[in-house]
């Protein structure tokens, strides 16, 4: 075999070894074809960005750090919550959802719902996804599952079906709970599924929203994902924060035919850094001449 052919064979072997499945987004496997990544693994180009992160461009993992490291997902878990809610055959946007005392008193990010108030399920879902409202989240969970425990079981069943093998959920709203963990890669998987649901995609894209309780109290809020409306092409997804998880965000941006996904867990500087990482991911598609 000549040197040339040996080289060709070696190259072919490398190509075969590196070519990942082409499943868009969900798998986000590695593939040759990226100037910023050495062979074998995506380059950790942003070690200071987050405890764990990944950037996928057009369905291929481009940069990553600890993409499979289990970490608390914070409110990013609500994407799975939304998927599970919409999976429920009884789901109805117009369903009347009452706010229990427990829901009204839930800790963390709230919409400010009051005990005994009621609102449409669709509006509660908007608050859950846009404002990351735990009171709306818990009200929905209680309405459709009866209890947190039952809903969490559904979440874990759904997560397993999605192939989120390193994830376990303990609270439907993402509050820190014993054993609750996920990974950047697993969360990307559920995010891809969530984006495929128009009821979710249309809500996470809102920079701001306004809903009303059934007795007419109006509640306006802005998206907790500060990238929406501020960074070109960002079409939404979810932010999250808990003491254990740190600042987290999943963002998806579309410019022309190119799509970038970003997942950051434990990101001390998430908004600015995310902005820069998204810009960098799109940079190769915007050739600049001197």
């Amino acid at each position: 075999m000549t040197g040339r052919r040996a080289g060709a064979c070696a190259l072919a072997v490398l190509v075969v070894a590196l070519a990942g499945p082409s499943t868009p987004v969900a798998a986000a496997e590695t593939k040759a074809g990226d100037g910023d990544r050495p062979l074998g693994a995506p380059l950790d180009l942003y070690p200071g960005a987050a405890a764990a992160y990944l950037v996928a461009v057009d369905g291929r993992l481009r940069w990553a750090r600890n993409a499979d490291l289990p970490r608390p997902p914070a409110s990013l878990a609500k994407l799975l919550t939304a998927v599970v809610l919409l999976d429920d055959p009884r789901w109805d946007d117009a369903a009347r959802v009452e706010v229990s005392a427990a829901a009204a008193a839930v800790e963390g990010s709230q919409l400010g719902l009051r005990r005994g108030e009621a609102l449409r399920a669709g509006d509660a879902l908007t608050a859950l996804l846009v404002r990351s409202a735990n009171d709306a989240c818990l009200a929905l969970v209680e309405h459709f599952a009866g209890s947190i425990g039952t809903f969490v079981e559904r979440m874990n069943t759904r997560a397993a079906a999605l192939g989120m093998s390193r994830s376990h959920f303990g609270h439907p709203c993402g509050l820190d709970a014993p054993g609750q963990q996920s990974t950047a890669r697993d969360l990307l998987r559920v995010a891809g599924v969530a984006l495929g649901r128009p009821a979710i995609a249309s809500r996470v894209a809102l920079a701001r929203a306004e809903i009303a309780t059934l007795d007419g109290r109006r509640l306006a809020f802005v998206n907790g994902n500060a990238l929406v409306g501020r960074v070109d092409g960002v079409i939404g997804m979810k932010s999250g924060f808990t003491t254990r998880a740190g600042k987290c965000v999943i963002a998806v941006a579309q410019r022309g035919e190119h799509r970038v996904w970003l997942v950051m867990l434990g990101a001390p500087e998430r908004w600015w850094t995310a902005t820069g990482m998204i810009e960098a991911a799109f940079a190769p598609f915007r050739p600049v001449t001197p």
């Binding site: 074809g33 740190g246 940079a283």
Partner: protein
């Protein structure tokens, strides 16, 4: 079994497929043969393997030359031919081979080898089968496979060139040398995004890897410049001079720190992400922040360090006010300083301290 032994086993199985058929493209009349090979190694006997092959009519068994091997003492006594083989290199070995043509339709042979793996004896035989065949068919198929492989490799080289996979073009061994892909790689390397991609790979690889690998990564731009006959610094300076006006913010922030740093100080320092900033500077400040994160490794020591209240992802929104965190640009290292200082062994603590130092330098506080 080492690679040479495997190769010799294959050679032993195919002693009749000789040069007469090599490179033949037209059908070559041939006879069908069944060859059987068995092997004994270090007292272990392996069962015989039979293979049907097609050999050119009237072909005689010939020893197949192996890489790094010399054949000597070749003799023919009656119907028996024998020779010695000595191989050097990484897998040195010696071998003695005998082949006996027992009749026009039958032959047998034996090869005794000594290598670092021990002694191996291979016995083989051939028996002519009824019927005819095309002796060049296999060669044609192999040639086609090789041609297809070359075409696929060329295509992959071109793709690798267009996406700046430097590893295929520089370093050892160089896998892509064809003019078209080298030209494409050189063109890519001299675009702003191409230069930026290679520079990132250089920085990232030098940080992640150690020793010779790190050294290879550290010279990506220099090696590319040498391959493509351009000066990386000239290209960088050229793009830096226009990056701001062309709003090529990622390049500007990451590759032109001497220009970006004052702009970051003026436009980004102390800015809250959610307060209005001129749109171009949102992108620039993000690129500057990510640039720091990309090199320094500062400030990502885990979420617990943030110290905020559990579940407080912004606070209550009742009444329309959205809670927003106070986020300031600039955490992380000064890219230029970090380029000089960062090492793979840097701890998160070191990185945070460096980031703080860089902040002081950048924002004067």
């Amino acid at each position: 079994m080492n690679a040479r032994l495997r190769s010799l086993c294959l050679a032993a199985l195919l002693p009749l497929v000789v040069s007469q058929a090599a490179f033949a493209q037209a059908p070559t009349p041939g006879d069908k043969w069944r060859t059987t090979m068995s092997m004994e190694m270090e007292g272990m006997k392996m069962p015989g393997i039979s293979t049907e092959i097609c050999a050119p009519k009237n072909a005689t068994p010939e020893p197949q030359q192996q890489e790094n091997c010399t054949i000597s003492n070749r003799k023919r006594v009656g119907n028996t031919e024998s020779f010695d083989m000595v191989c050097s290199g990484k897998e040195p070995m010696t071998a003695r081979m005998e082949m006996t043509q027992e009749s026009p339709t039958r032959w047998r042979g034996k090869m005794q080898m000594k290598s670092k793996d021990g002694d191996t004896t291979m016995s083989y035989s051939g028996e002519k089968l009824p019927g005819e065949c095309d002796a060049s068919e296999m060669e044609r198929k192999m040639n086609k496979m090789m041609a297809d492989g070359d075409a696929a490799a060329a295509k992959q080289c071109l793709e690798s060139a267009k996406t700046g996979q430097s590893i295929f073009f520089i370093g050892e061994p160089v896998m892509c040398k064809d003019a078209a892909s080298v030209k494409a790689y050189c063109s890519f390397a001299q675009t702003s995004s191409g230069y930026n991609a290679l520079a990132r790979t250089q920085r990232g690889g030098a940080r992640v890897y150690k020793g010779a690998e790190a050294a290879q990564y550290r010279t990506i731009l220099a090696s590319t410049g040498k391959l493509c006959s351009f000066s990386p610094e000239t290209v960088r300076t050229q793009y830096c001079s226009t990056a701001r006006s062309k709003e090529d913010w990622t390049f500007f922030a990451e590759e032109c720190p001497e220009l970006a740093k004052p702009l970051a100080k003026a436009q980004c320092a102390g800015r809250n992400f959610t307060t209005p900033v001129d749109p171009p500077f949102v992108k620039f400040c993000g690129a500057w922040s990510a640039g720091g994160a990309s090199i320094g490794g500062g400030g990502a020591a885990g979420g617990a360090a943030t110290g905020a209240a559990a579940g407080a992802d912004g606070g209550s929104a009742a009444g329309g006010a959205a809670g927003s965190e106070t986020v300031k640009v600039g955490e992380g290292e000064d890219p230029q300083a970090a380029t000089q200082k960062a090492t793979p062994a840097s701890t998160a603590k070191d990185a945070v301290l460096k980031g703080k130092e860089a902040l002081k330098g950048l924002f004067g506080r």
